[in-house]
């Protein structure tokens, strides 16, 4: 029966191929959307790990999250260096990573921070940052590049780069007089870290004219060896009593010794009286943000489901249209003893065949795209799309498409059945 269905389909291959294509494209779209959704969520959740609290000035939690973790958007409100010092004194704080943002190198975000970033920041499943080349910055004119940033800018260890004020691609004020030297390049992480360029806070302060190096300032001359290296500016970690490297910070990442304390500390920071502060728990904030994206997500899924429905309707239309020209064929089959049930089965198996081929081609096209475009997508937006095996959800989707197709095919099958009974062997053309 299946062989006969196949031969009959082959006889109508033009419309059959178009039908298969319509189903394939719609299935590819649906699976693609689902895959992007799931992997976006994974990527998303993987961007930060091990950080218990993120603190910023008075701002929305989503805005703080996007700016501090994803380097998207900017923070209008900053927090003062005094507040940062206060945060460090909170009980059970294991480490802090201050971040000052807002500058860029040819559109890529520059994050001014301390070398603590490289020892404490974790992403994915508690993975630390690792250096592909070089090492962490040790002096205020050093820079560390994210993997993608280094590739995009074509910079290697030892090269110089100039930071521009503002986040735009073409900047109006380049800090040409204070170039940075690439000291290290991080391994790729598949997170926004790859896109960023890291410089020491002191470097940023110098560039912005906020920080006056002790040497030039004529303050304490306690560096010893540093003087011999001429323009070598050492980075200090003991600024407690000195002038701060920068007056304001964009955000501070905090790691705690005891994780469950996070909730209490969050409340404490939010009610800090020295300055309005916003503290968020990255896990919660990510979830919340993800939930706010869900509407968009659902809309996308709904649209692609409708596209699948269209694909199946194309099949229904071609099957119904084919019934007219196939009345002869059906009468012939009846004459050699095919029962109406057989005719019914013939139509259903034809739909089954079309749909299975459509799904197979659709999956093939999806993987073709994944293999072909995962690389460029990763390069351009830092989004990691893996060509992993089909997930249970994706199998469920394909199963649903198949079931929907079979249900729809009952309509032409039933009509063929009725025709077979009514026409008998005398078909009026």
């Amino acid at each position: 029966m299946f062989k006969l269905a196949l031969a009959s389909l082959w006889n109508r291959k033009a419309s059959a191929i178009l039908t298969v294509l319509a189903i394939a494209i719609s299935v590819m779209l649906l699976l693609g959307v689902e895959r992007i959704r799931v992997q976006a969520q994974e990527n998303f959740a993987n961007t930060i790990s091990g950080t218990d609290i993120i603190v910023g000035g008075r701002t929305g939690s989503t805005q703080l999250l996007l700016a501090s973790v994803f380097h998207i958007g900017s923070l209008n409100q900053t927090l003062s260096w005094q507040s940062y010092e206060y945060l460090q004194t909170l009980p059970r704080v294991s480490w802090t990573i201050p971040m000052a943002m807002g500058d860029s190198v040819r559109g890529l975000p520059v994050v001014a921070t301390t070398a603590d970033l490289f020892s404490h920041f974790k992403y994915g499943n508690r993975q630390p940052l690792r250096f592909a080349e070089g090492q962490a910055f040790a002096q205020l004119d050093h820079a560390v590049m994210g993997a993608e940033a280094a590739t995009k800018l074509g910079l290697q260890v030892g090269d110089e780069l100039t930071v521009s004020h503002g986040a735009g691609g073409v900047s109006f004020s380049d800090h040409d007089d204070h170039p940075f030297r690439v000291q290290g390049i991080l391994q790729a992480t598949g997170t926004p870290v790859d896109q960023a360029i890291y410089i020491p806070l002191e470097g940023l302060g110098l560039v912005h004219g906020e920080y006056v190096h002790e040497e030039e300032h004529g303050e304490e001359h306690d560096h010893g060896d540093d003087h011999e290296h001429g323009h070598d500016h050492a980075v200090h970690h003991d600024h407690a009593k000195q002038a701060p490297p920068v007056y304001t910070l964009s955000a501070v990442l905090i790691g705690l010794e005891i994780k469950p304390l996070a909730l209490r500390l969050q409340r404490q920071i939010n009610t800090y009286t020295g300055e309005p502060l916003t503290a968020i728990l990255p896990g919660f904030a990510l979830q919340e943000f993800w939930r706010s994206l869900q509407l968009f997500d659902r809309a996308l899924l709904a649209i692609s489901s409708l596209v699948v429905a269209t694909g199946l309707l194309v099949m229904l239309t071609t099957l119904l249209a084919s019934l007219r020209e196939r009345r002869r064929e059906i009468a012939v089959l009846r004459s050699i003893g095919a029962g109406p049930v057989t005719i019914f089965t013939l139509l259903v198996s034809e739909a089954l065949l079309l749909t299975i081929m459509g799904i197979a081609v659709g999956v093939g096209m999806l993987y073709g795209l994944l293999f072909g475009f995962a690389e460029p997508i990763q390069m351009s937006i830092g989004f990691q799309l893996r060509a992993s095996l089909l997930s249970p959800t994706e199998w469920t989707i394909m199963g649903s498409v198949l079931i929907a197709a079979i249900s729809l095919s009952l309509i032409p099958a039933w009509r063929a059945y009725r025709n077979a009974l009514a026409d008998g062997l005398t078909v009026k053309l």
Binding site: A7, A331, V332, S335, I336, G337, A338, G424, L425, T426
Partner: protein, 236 residues
């Protein structure tokens, strides 16, 4: 009764939705091995009668016996099975599935017909060989046997249809105006070959036509209008 292939008793049939009776036949018997010509004007119900015999439609009142089976007592499934096994059907034209080869079309005959397959097995020939042999007898050489049905001439198509009807020696061959699309020479040739093969495997032949000139070829001619009590009303 013993050697009757087809018997009709008090058959009354009307199409669903139609007011008048299409067929009203008190009695008809066709013996095994007979070659009967059924004749009648267009619209008189010849094809209708054939589809009743083939078990495609059922007549409520009346009794039809084909090859020893009372059709009224058979289920849809059994009717389909009986048709597959014991009836070879030839249409006026468009008998073939255009996307199969000539041989493939002939082989279709046994697809739903285990009895026909069994008869071939009993004779010790494969379905393929039997199909090829029949086609050979009917004048299709090896080349045209392998051609797609849609590339055959109308005459060739009708011979392939005949071969399919004959394959596996069904009890009854029903031919509904199979020669009306053929010219005279082809028609006579077709008839000759059909008769030969029917004789060879002792199949009963019921042949429908409104062509009066064919009468001499047949052992019996049945005029449907004389047989059919509902016939008068068909004349306007």
């Amino acid at each position: 009764m013993s050697n009757a292939c087809v018997t009709l008793n008090q058959l009354k049939f009307s199409w669903p939705g139609a007011q008048r009776l299409q067929l009203d036949i008190p009695q008809l018997q066709i013996d095994t091995g007979e070659r009967v010509l059924l004749r009648g004007p267009s619209g008189s119900g010849k094809s209708t009668l054939l589809s009743l015999l083939a078990g495609i439609h059922k007549s409520k009142p009346g009794q039809i016996n084909v090859h020893g089976h009372d059709l009224g007592k058979l289920s849809q499934r059994q009717l389909d099975r009986l048709r597959a096994n014991e009836i070879g059907y030839i249409f006026q034209q468009f008998n073939l599935l255009p996307y199969l080869t000539a041989v493939g079309n002939v082989e279709l005959a046994v697809k739903f017909a285990p009895a026909r397959r069994a008869r071939l097995a009993q004779r010790g020939v494969s379905v393929r060989a039997a199909a090829q042999q029949l086609l050979q007898h009917l004048g299709l050489d090896h080349n045209s046997q392998q051609q797609l049905a849609q590339h055959l001439s109308v005459g060739q198509q009708q011979r392939v249809a005949a071969a399919r009807a004959l394959l596996g020696a069904p009890a009854l061959i029903i031919a509904d105006e199979p020669t009306s699309a053929l010219d005279e020479a082809h028609r006579d040739n077709f008839l000759k070959l059909l008769f030969q093969e029917c004789d060879a495997q002792q199949s009963t032949l019921l042949f429908v036509t409104h062509d009066a000139t064919l009468a001499p070829y047949f052992s019996r001619v049945v005029e449907l209008e004389q047989l059919n009590q509902a016939a008068e009303s068909t004349h306007v």
